[in-house]
Symmetry: D2
Subunit: 334 residues, 4 copies
């Protein structure tokens, strides 16, 4: 699948640390396992940091041996726990964190998380010189520079399994259901889920709409009597409550629709095969890059290849949505 980077160990790093940060995502555990064992195989010691930056700044650090990561490849969540850490936005705190890492003899840090967590890593390196490598760990797949993120494929399948159940009721009662999926400000989950479930309509923040036109379009589609899944996929979007607002608009326009907010079930669960392979490859690659002297990069996937992306790019740019999937869903629903 992915070709691993062929780099040699050129640094004198004797120990590295790994953490998971921000919202948990399925695949963080196989990533931790891969980082740990790839480093141990190079004779490098590995430390785990509990609760992301929150644990780092209080020194909640412990040595990871090979046995600690046995039989976690299939587990959801993260054995290192995770957290969002406000305090780490303070440069003083970041300097303290660097001191703690140095006290443990840690020569490099691997951070698995979303763009907020990777920003923290970038700042840590720039201000303190601690080498950092990021791994894209989020279900949202909204990180610039990588086609894929650890957890996205699992979340896609979790959402789909839920929708396949809702579909039974939608068909049996000939009802419409508005199903809200995660994705924060992006429609990456929604557009893939929508194609995969045969949605009647996909609503994403990247494509402008008004509630009135959505309701109107939907009424027209149904009046044409197309064979219908009854499923409308809605990305949660930046402002909470969109799905309920749409349901009310439909009600006003004479259509009743059920509402399902899939919510946190999308974050958990055993990682899929895809996410386990992805996490295993990226974890090993992160160690390779770090020991070869790279820093301030995220290791991701571009056109099926493992690639290094500068963390600065990730902070400054937004990943665009491919609108073709939304159009394809529309085409294939007819």
């Amino acid at each position: 699948m992915y070709h691993l980077p062929q780099l040699k160990k050129t640094t004198q790093i004797n120990a590295i640390a790994v953490m998971t940060s921000g919202g948990d995502s399925p695949g963080m555990n196989p990533a931790i396992r891969s980082v740990t064992r790839a480093a141990l195989n190079q004779g490098v010691r590995v430390f785990g940091i509990n609760r992301g930056y929150s644990g780092l700044i209080i020194g909640d650090i412990f040595e990871l041996k090979s046995r600690n990561v046995t039989n976690i490849v299939q587990r959801g969540g993260t054995i290192l726990k995770s957290d969002r850490c406000e305090a780490f936005k303070d440069p003083v705190v970041r300097h303290q964190a660097a001191e703690i890492l140095k006290e443990h003899g840690i020569g490099g840090l691997i951070v698995i998380g979303g763009d907020g967590s990777l920003t923290g890593a970038h700042l840590l390196f720039h201000e303190t010189g601690i080498p950092v490598i990021g791994l894209p760990g989020t279900i949202d797949n909204d990180i610039y520079g990588t086609d894929d993120t650890i957890g996205f494929d699992t979340a896609l399948n979790t959402a789909l399994e839920a929708i396949d159940k809702i579909r039974d009721t939608a068909i049996s009662h000939e009802r419409i259901f508005l199903v809200e999926v995660m994705g924060r400000n992006s429609g990456h989950i929604a557009s893939q889920v929508g194609v995969a479930c045969g949605a009647e309509m996909i609503i994403v923040p990247e494509i402008d709409f008004t509630l009135e036109t959505l309701s109107f379009t939907l009424a027209n589609q149904r009046a044409e009597g197309r064979g219908s899944s009854g499923i409308i996929v809605v990305a949660e979007g930046p402002r909470p409550g969109l799905t309920y607002r749409l349901a009310r608009q439909l009600e006003i326009d004479g259509q009743t629709a059920g509402v399902c907010i899939l919510g946190h079930i999308q974050r958990g669960g055993q990682p899929t095969g895809h996410d386990r392979v992805l996490a295993s490859c990226l974890g090993a690659a992160a160690v390779t890059y770090l020991l070869a002297g790279e820093t301030d990069i995220m290791v991701g996937i571009k056109n099926s290849k493992i690639t290094a992306i500068p963390l600065l790019d990730i902070m400054e740019q937004k990943k665009p949505l491919n609108p073709e999937l939304v159009q394809l869903a529309q085409l294939l629903h007819k």
Copy 2:
């Protein structure tokens, strides 16, 4: 598992009809299959009625052959579709319905649904003399006189699978989650789900509580530092919004909790083995009772035995909740 009734065909019934009514539940399809084939095996013709009473009163009736129910045993939802029918509350409409059944030569009707649907069946028999047999088809398991209902076991497992995913995040972030499960006015789903997921607390409508005492108890439990699943199971209850109200109370008292409303995913999905066996046995038994001249009963399960319960009892009595499961969950959480 269940012993089937040993009754002989004593009636002259040459054709029966079957419908699904009210909210759909997993297992309705194996019940339809069982009714159809058990009747055909006795030389009796079978008619399917689409959309429950709504289809009956407009004569949306078609003959079911053996092939029509091939490979539906594993399907969620109902191939006969379902509906809630307000019009059927009018006795005039029920008389029209009886006429339509007679026109098709239908000598008995099997209704698969919840207590509202079974009430309709009872009235139809009392006013028109059409023999009726009910089957308990609801995920809520809230029908008097039967220990089990078709769809309950599947809903239990669907809710559990969702909670097992939420648990990954609860553990990784050391957060509490309030998970709302279905069950209308009863806590049957909530109490079993709660025991099965190792809930910290189970909240059911049958046991009085105030938001303040719940919040207080929870704070105490957590202060004791017990090993915790982080999951609190809440039955939806008669008044919508309970789970959000509890979350707000917790917030006021200084605890943050995530909220997940499992919603309609609990109604769909492939039926479990238990529900398929249950539906297959009850479907065949319903035909046996009907052809032996029984009417105005529901065929259910009491102490692992197939039993007939008068429909009148079902209408007049409420199924009590066994509070021991709630207590057991509390005991086992410590």
Copy 3:
């Protein structure tokens, strides 16, 4: 669901031990959790024994605290590990085992396992006076005196999910598949799986057959052109290879059939809701019985009630198969 026994603690037991023995089954972990916490709630210490009798006889025993059983309710397998122990068939070894228990101050032993394991418990009590309580932990549901065993429901669903996948190929290729399920010398799994998957035929060791008549019957059924699932469920039975022998007979008679041996996937996996509730209730009940002075019994389920069955009965009697399910499957396949 199940009413728990209302007994008082009458013994002076201060510590108990729990083990899992024989083939693992899904639900052993929630049973361990329930035993542990129910005892701790009574102020009784709990010891876990690793690897069943194999661990007992070498003193592989450790104290179980509440935290040790946190978040295991959903896990397959057994955290105490399991084993089949030949050495324990020797009375001398059993006496040594009793000494080890006494050294730890253990006043009673709870054994979770199949009939072989329960026989060991019975002998241990008879020869050494150590109070023992058995819990039926096996996927096979072949233990006399209980309607249900911990793990059976999960195995049923695991087999069904596999068959639902095989069915896709059976239908797409219009082929027959012989699917072998577990169950040792009994057809309990096969008969329920067969009804639940809509099998064309169910073959169990309790009902006599010859390969020739099976093949002949099947050819006839197919010649009649019935709507068919294409699935034939075969219980593994006492002599390995039955399924392959049947496939060869079909081949000789001009029918080609695929063979799938489901094998060990049926033993593992997260326990279903049913098995978790069952295990939780039985585990707590076992502690109640033990502390109330009972011994030499298994705690099981009879007609939906928790019941105590003398271990001697279990050893001496074979659980009969209800042939009605096999007949029902035949009836409903037509």
Copy 4:
């Protein structure tokens, strides 16, 4: 995800046909749906051919309307059924097939299947001039020129779910299990499954081995006392029985291992999100290529892009295995 080809309809094709051929794979149904609706949207009629080439040569052809493909996106197997057709190896038969297509006014054929099926399509075009487009439909992912095939991701996850269950027993009993996965002569499934399940060892036909050295290596690994999953993944390979032969060799060398042949469960089941999106994109692309005048190609994926590969290349070249995954699994198991 995938960018769809931007081509214009340049042909006069008014009707196309679609078939599934060879072993079924999950995702064939969303591919059929996508082909059908993409063509209908261009004003082109669509015919479905039952049972692949077997149905074609007897004219088992029917018109596909939009409604025929409603709510099949989530279904395993293929609604068009499939078959392996020996007769189609005869050029005379292929000419008859072309006549049948012409009689129906069919101006192009889309074949979803493995390399054997695509070879048939190539010959049909070369000998008769009927435009053909292939889609890679096989779980084995062994087709030259495409990184991915429809069904591969689902099979990967199905195998993994089975192994995750076997792992419970492997851990509980501290046993080794040899798990045989599909893949015919290639190790694509085995290598990804192996990385994803944390296998101790992966055995694929592309990498030479002797039973003796495998057994020796395994004994060494276990003697080192590494934390172990207990799972060894074996690709079925060209000669049946490899897994049993390896088990016997291990037995001779003093290690007992369980054997699980996953078999046909890997072919069926609801397609994953990945496979549904892949199939939807490729199906629409196949129609675009066909209507733009392309022929004798397969539409596949190369570096995340939709690509056309000449069918001749597929017939003549074997897809190589990336050995890095096997090495990675070895590295990460330590």
